[in-house]
């Protein structure tokens, strides 16, 4: 028996008021990462032994700038969603809150740092 009000049922957000947002975001980023990760893994292997100039020229080319930014941004988003579940499973109380906040901050910090770096290499400066 469904005891929810018609409005609650239509919203579908449940008691945590988040609905399937986390689950869906993790799947969506997973699907996006399939082609991105294949491309990146092959690129990284092909860059084995490449010198500084070659690596910079590769990062700075327009298509790579776009794909690398996507890979890092989507990858970090997927990673922090997954790590949140790991902390929720194995820790509780203050530790859980601190680790989840730390995970999210680190993801944004490193993501922004990498994007600035990519733009700097590609656009000069």
């Amino acid at each position: 028996m469904d005891r929810r009000t018609p409005l609650a049922r239509a919203r579908g957000l449940g008691s945590a008021k988040e609905g399937v947002g986390h689950w869906w975001a993790q799947r969506l980023t997973a699907i996006a990462l399939i082609p991105l990760v294949v491309w990146f893994a092959i690129s990284l292997v092909m860059l084995s032994g490449a010198d500084y100039a070659t690596v910079r020229a590769w990062i700075g080319s327009p298509l790579v700038m776009m794909l690398l930014t996507l890979t890092i941004a989507v990858g970090l988003h997927h990673a922090q969603l997954g790590m949140q579940v790991v902390w929720e499973d194995y820790t509780d109380g203050a530790t859980r809150v601190v680790m989840i906040v730390l995970t999210k901050f680190l993801a944004v910090l490193f993501g922004l740092g990498a994007i600035v770096a990519i733009l700097r290499i590609g656009l000069g400066g």
């Binding site: 084995s48 500084y52 990858g75 993501g111 700097r120």
Partner: protein, 132 residues
């Protein structure tokens, strides 16, 4: 439950120590383990790009670690983790869509994931080491 009322020192479910290791459970644990490793790897990847943007001397320092035995181990492990998590992640997406839940299907897809990720890792290692 408040901290005071919580029973102490009781074994927590699932009781991993009483289960016989099976392919399905081992692959599930490995999916989480590689996921955690790749989360750290994503930060490492971001660091790599930031070093490339800084200076050739700083980049040489970073590459110095990648070229060491420990660095090779990390990068090689990263390649296995990415291929395994990718293949098993696709397996998970099929489950999410409602396919492959029969026991024999779960085992078959599990062995496919093991095979494909090991072959992809071996090929990348060989190609990568030849290029150095």
């Amino acid at each position: 439950m408040s901290v005071a009322n919580r029973p102490t020192n009781r074994p927590l479910s699932p009781h991993l120590q009483v289960y016989r290791p099976q392919l399905t459970s081992m692959l599930s644990i490995l999916h989480r383990a590689t996921g955690i490793a790749l989360a750290a790897g994503a930060l490492y990847l971001a660091t790599w790009v930031m070093y490339a943007a800084s200076s050739s001397r700083a980049y040489a320092l970073f590459q110095g670690f990648n070229g060491s035995i420990a660095g090779r181990f990390v990068l090689g492990g990263w390649l296995f983790s990415i291929f395994y998590h990718l293949c098993n992640g696709i397996r998970h997406l099929f489950w999410d869509a409602g396919y492959g839940f029969e026991l024999k299907d779960a085992y078959r897809s599990g062995w496919i994931v093991v095979g494909v990720s090991l072959v992809a890792t071996a090929v990348s290692w060989i190609v990568g080491l030849r290029l150095i």
